[in-house]
Symmetry: D2
């Protein structure tokens, strides 16, 4: 069995030694350790991948012992994840299919170690894609009047299917705190990004009008402040005056799908830790 | 002799044919023609590089004939530049030397076909660099109280030395309309750029705090609205949580110097045309 | 109707003027003209997009007139393409699905203006993908012994369905001159690329062993010399010592699919011209 | 005092714990730890930055204790570096100045924590740059006949000035094993790199002829096999058919100087470890 342990605690003498020593004492062989110290605040973040080969690890026993020996002593917030249970991913889409296709084709190829119990959409446009991949599709329309009710329906599905994290694959709707609060740093969104940024409803048009030479996309966790949550992944590509607005948008789509899939993969691999609206992305 | 002709006019049937025909009639051999039509407004932008081999071209005769035959007819705004006169570049710096060194070392290598009559600075820190490269250095201090007077001194130098365009190589001071109006789309500035943008005095710190994964730099013409002028060149590079603020700034310096030099080179080669706060950058 | 005209001829005085004048005389409004002169050889390459709005263009009449007035005079090789007929694309695949999914999802979104009459494969692995997208799938096994016969079958299908160009979407088989000669500069392949290059059967393993920091992919036309045909598109991404071979290959897959789709799109848009094993890629 | 410790040993249970415990026992506070396990060979590489604040660290005492307690036990190859002694860098150049200027301007700005006792060149072309920066310049001509003798002179200077590592800033001469053997993984070179690679004397011309869309540069340690040593840093940039050979070379120069300076900086910061012709580059 392979485990990934994520640790967050005040930086202090002996912490790495104590944790690695504990893992060894439980029969684990550390195959990757990466750590980061936020100097300003003196906080330590650590990610440890271990293999438990000889003995079958009892996760619950590991947890109990870890808490007894380390949690209090070092004031550790931690979690352990094994490769025996796949995280369950909820997919929200609207009308654009490029991110959806990219995620589902990777899923189909075995590149994403998740379960995808369903796809939720406020439109019926992409039901045919869900059918192509044999995934249940729930059409939950959203209007101003029905938004609260729609989110209740969404939450009910998220709970019924024991969803671990949510991916907004160009969902195009604002998700409210009702859902965000239940999935803190567990909802991943993709949005276009520009240098400099352009506010308002049609950023590609604004960027085009300004004649930018680079466009980008940002994959991030959703927080209540719109598009301002912790950044997981970003990428950029070049554009020029020869590109039409349609070209801008097409190039944006390519960025969006690659960056969103990259962010989702980092999340699944437990390579992301969030701290103060900022991410540590382990390599 | 080699000439570059820049043309801006309403798009219309026969314009390319008429202009290229005229150049041929004057003994010119077109070695590069690039054109761009802004579809929304129906405006044509064209850049033509020609060689005049057999005969010695009389530029003034060329101008007169062009105006007579084409300017009115097609409502053309145009300019002609020959490789026999080098543009004269005014350099403004403050305390940072990375952009200055990059420009001067390229200048020294013959990569930039300009004259650099002087360097102006509000500080004395970089006088030694000017000395290294044997370029006159004018120290014009700028305070709130003396800003207007300082700009008068700067203008006097720009005029005395018949400066064609100005490069703000990390000048760190706002240039007012008093100077901008005299050099429209002829003052080049470099500034850091982020996805998303961060307002305020310390953008690198803000970007660091947000945990961005990409930083960028933008070379642009200076307009009255701060850092909002037509974009000439941009580039980005990746950063991560392992980078300190100092790393961010160091990576930013590398971007700034390369992007500024690239923008300056495009300007010198007459590959930039400005239209509605947007650039056409010919290749 | 929109047309794209591609022209290749010796560079000569008056050629641009004559061609643009001809297009106008036929009722065409030029919306994009891009040209390139290979200075070493004095050859001109030109791409002209025009709209024929008022009158219905007779393509055959246009061709006859063009040949009469221009072809001989300027020694032009040329072709005209209209948006009224879609090119027919033959897809060859093997066992990897990332490029196939990327192409088909773009096709489904209307991003690729082609017809895809069938998918050919030497394996049955991807038949389910063809079924997902309702495209006929021909399984033509290839062994050393049956290679010649298999290519005959492939050729028969290419002809039967009047295929205009072929895309090898990770086909993993060498295509011989029997097919290449029938589709010169009309077969597009994708292959991984490294700095420096690594020969042999397992280039990702070799690159990994050397500890490269950048990997790339190249989309190119197939010629008889393996992986040495004219390059249409390339891209790179960064890797590090923290990446396993599997990571290298996964990052390579992302590059491959994006670069192949980009190359296919450029081909469909008639933005590629080949000359001496080199491409002109219009913007 | 700040120290950097580099460790290379067989991967084994308890090694991280033992080493970090030892650093603490000597009064060190670990501010960064990064480690990498080569799974294929089971080798561990670790880099530890520590601060010794309260007490003045005796490096020699630290070394003795480390050897006594850890070196034999874990079969560790290791080194310790403090920020109290700057490495001494020998600079070799030929006729191109872009890399030289880039390194010297960074040096002047305090970005490179080294001493540069001299510049060696086989030509006199860049003596003026050395003079600009007040660095002694040794002109040692190299011909086929005098190569061995020239290398003896170079070695004598390297030894006299106690050079720690050498940077070939576009030196354009092959350095033989006579020098390489004395500075294993301590000579840094920069060379252009292409996808695919082009052999022979004029790679930019070959890449131009093939119509590549991306060019690159590789910074690497020099080994006896030409341009095949462990890679420290790489970067790429885009080119197109509109670029002349001169443009290719100019873009190459920009890559070369940035990538070489990046490689030099990584070396100075002790972020590189070499293993089997491959580098571990710590972040």
């Amino acid at each position: 069995m392979k485990t990934t342990i994520l640790i967050h605690c005040p930086d202090q003498t002996g912490i790495i030694c104590s944790v690695t020593g504990f893992v060894h004492s439980q029969g684990g062989n550390i195959i990757y350790l990466d750590q980061h110290v936020e100097k300003a605040s003196g906080e330590l973040f650590m990610r440890i991948e271990s293999e438990f080969l000889d003995a079958k690890l009892s996760v619950s026993h590991f947890k109990t012992q870890f808490d007894k020996e380390l949690t209090e002593k070092f004031k550790i917030k931690w979690s352990i994840h094994t490769d025996e249970t796949k995280p369950r991913m909820g997919l929200f889409v609207s009308k654009y299919n490029h991110c959806l296709y990219d995620l589902l084709s990777r899923f189909n190829s075995g590149e994403l170690a998740v379960d995808i119990p369903f796809i939720i959409s406020n439109h019926t446009d992409l039901e045919f894609v869900a059918n192509q991949f044999d995934i249940p599709y729930y059409h939950i329309p959203v209007t101003k009047a029905t938004k609260a009710e729609a989110e209740n329906e969404q939450l009910a599905l998220l709970e019924k299917y024991q969803i671990d994290f949510v991916v907004l694959a160009r969902y195009m709707q604002i998700v409210t705190s009702k859902i965000i609060d239940r999935y803190p740093n567990k909802i991943i969104n993709i949005h276009h990004s520009f240098l400099p940024a352009f506010a308002g409803a049609k950023p590609y048009h604004a960027a085009f009008k300004r004649g930018v030479k680079i466009i980008g996309a940002t994959g991030h966790y959703v927080t209540e402040e719109l598009d301002a949550g912790p950044i997981i992944a970003q990428d950029t590509t070049t554009v020029s005056h020869t590109n039409s607005i349609d070209d801008f948008i097409a190039k944006g789509r390519d960025l969006e799908k690659i960056v969103l899939s990259r962010a989702v993969k980092l999340h699944i691999q437990r390579k992301t830790m969030v701290y103060n609206n900022k991410t540590i992305i382990f390599s």
